[in-house]
Symmetry: C2
Subunit: 443 residues, 2 copies
Amino acid sequence: MRQSLYFLPTLKEVPTEAQTVSHRLMLRAGMVRQVAAGIYSWLPLGQRVLDKIADHVRAEQVKTGAMEIIMPTLQPAELWQESGRYDDYGKEMLRITDRHDRPLLYGPTAEEVVTDIVRNSIKSYRSLPLNLFQIHWKFRDEVRPRFGVMRGREFLMKDGYGFDLDEASARFTYQKMFVSYLRILRNLGLNPIPLRADTGPIGGDLSHEFIILAETGESQVYCHQNYTSRAIPDAVDYDDQDHIAQIVKDWTADYAAADDLHNPATCKVPDHELLTARGIEVGHIFYFGTKYSTPMKAAVSTESGGLTNLHMGSYGIGVSRLVGGIIEASHDDLGIIWPKSVAPFQIALINLKAGDSACDSAANLLYKQLTSSGIEVLLDDRDERAGVKLAEADLLGLPLRLVIGPKGVAAGTIEVVERANPSNKREIALSDALGFAVEWVKR
Amino acid sequence: MRQSLYFLPTLKEVPTEAQTVSHRLMLRAGMVRQVAAGIYSWLPLGQRVLDKIADHVRAEQVKTGAMEIIMPTLQPAELWQESGRYDDYGKEMLRITDRHDRPLLYGPTAEEVVTDIVRNSIKSYRSLPLNLFQIHWKFRDEVRPRFGVMRGREFLMKDGYGFDLDEASARFTYQKMFVSYLRILRNLGLNPIPLRADTGPIGGDLSHEFIILAETGESQVYCHQNYTSRAIPDAVDYDDQDHIAQIVKDWTADYAAADDLHNPATCKVPDHELLTARGIEVGHIFYFGTKYSTPMKAAVSTESGGLTNLHMGSYGIGVSRLVGGIIEASHDDLGIIWPKSVAPFQIALINLKAGDSACDSAANLLYKQLTSSGIEVLLDDRDERAGVKLAEADLLGLPLRLVIGPKGVAAGTIEVVERANPSNKREIALSDALGFAVEWVKR
């Protein structure tokens, strides 16, 4: 993409309304704009990141056997009356009345809708297990939306729902989701820490939240330092129950709790091995048995001929929240440092002297070659001062920067610098740039 | 995808609530389920089609230089008060009040939001032209939702917005969108007909709707028969103003009007060349000048130093409606006939005798080979009668069907049939099946 044609309204001033670093950087980098309190538009750069995160989530969920669907944002109140949550759910639920005075609501979650689909569609144990997810917009009418997209009112979430014949099968589904969440967060360049969690309004008796460490996190986390270095297998066989159970066991062996569940009396971790840090919750999984299937009469016939209520769990990842979370976990004083896997473009190709014919032809040629190789490049071809371009590249945080300038072009060289290691700046031969960049992006 | 594991709740009975063939077929094929009047969930098969259509729309829009964003579904009323549409828009607008008693609405369209973004982000003519689109959910509170997803209340739409310095530039943007819409609809396997249209509540003086012919269409269309065979160039250079203008000229040279604008007095088409048919509106484009930029004060500085209001257009395609529209245009008595470009899977691979070891190994091997070649295959590996499987394959309408049965496997053959040409059924060597299928899908 040529930056001269790209809609990328960066801001030089630090927006005063933004209290957290990710909110400030997302506004400054032209990723989002607020439309109303806690409601944002995603501009092209932000939309690309959102899309990439969603793709990672989708790819790993599909590997577990989960299938993607799309449920509506607006739901009829009657389904929530059936489950008993309509009155319980407080003012965070946005309640709506349509032109025929029928009560609707903007779904904060979709247990009721998906249970309704499943109870009407499957009748037999042979159709189980079944795992359905969507990546879709939700609304929670937070009394005080803040931290930009991290605690917005309208937000993009992956919400998945597992349906199993019995508790044993449902717990295996839960464990698959546990492992899948570790994989997803690792693929996004993050170090996840799973914490045993309260189940809250979703209900049930088994729940973990997945947090990532960041100074600005809302929760205080107490965990064994092992969590920061524990391996997540690259190749996971989601059909192998023992393999999955072992990963979960490894990842829950050590102490880990957020402030609400932390208990110094039961925490046996020696002080020098205890990590105390701030964390951001980015995922939450629940097993809640028949909490919804019982009132909603979602049952299937069993092998022996009877009827049994479905065992269910629900599995959420905050996709739009992750955009902010990743920035909170990965930035410096100059701007964002995108992990390669979610960067809106892989390469910032900067033409320091747009208008200079030698610089232009070198930049244009390399741009064409890189894009033909399937690499996403943002070419800064604008008529701006070199200092402005370099500062903006720092702000945008694309992983690899290639800088073309008049001196380098005359000498047949190009400057290469990784955003994550700015001190490792070097000149390479212009003729090697394509090969170097392709190799670097693949690595 | 193995059908034994796929959530595909087909219906044998014809649902009584469905009046149109696409609605019936989408329910029967397990693509959608109604959640409330005019509000649907998209099950895995339907979600795949929706995604494919969205991808085609996105790919062709990006070629024009348009950039993807995501605006929120909920919008603050104040922006619509500013444009003057808040009171004009009737009961089709779903009005909402949040917990702080602030008026919101579920966006039926997004001229106001996008104008607000642009007026706050660009200041100079040098940032123009600018074309932003989203593929996102909208809500129109239709008094009588019907025809399934064709006239639902919550629907997926691509809505794009062009911003130009002056009318000439905006008209070129309009023409690019005109050509892009022809290309998109052709890529979806459809024959679009552009009709000069009324501008309605969007406003402006120039508008075309794009319809596709289908017996169940809501509009009566009168047009020259040339429209059914007119070529759309495969390679379009969206930067070439003359080239684009010529395509628009060719495509508007002959008479074409819907019933509301049809005038037998001005229609000079001889009777034997006049096509009178039913059509479904799937796209609508508008140029409306400064209708929104004037009240909303969206202006940029000009080259000569003054300020000028932006010239705007808006460009919509009904993505979820197209799913129904394509089925209306392409089905037979047995079921759907998917065009290759939007089919949820390219190939139905049917194992007529699941459980028979020779059939199972032939089917599994071919399934693996096809999927490794990047082809989307739905393998019917269920323990069902052959007749049930073949009837369901007709219903689902995947473009190419490969049938493995005990006799064929013994003789080393496989049956091949195209869904669109069921009479052209033939046996080919099992060993040729992979090569044949790969070739057929590419073709």
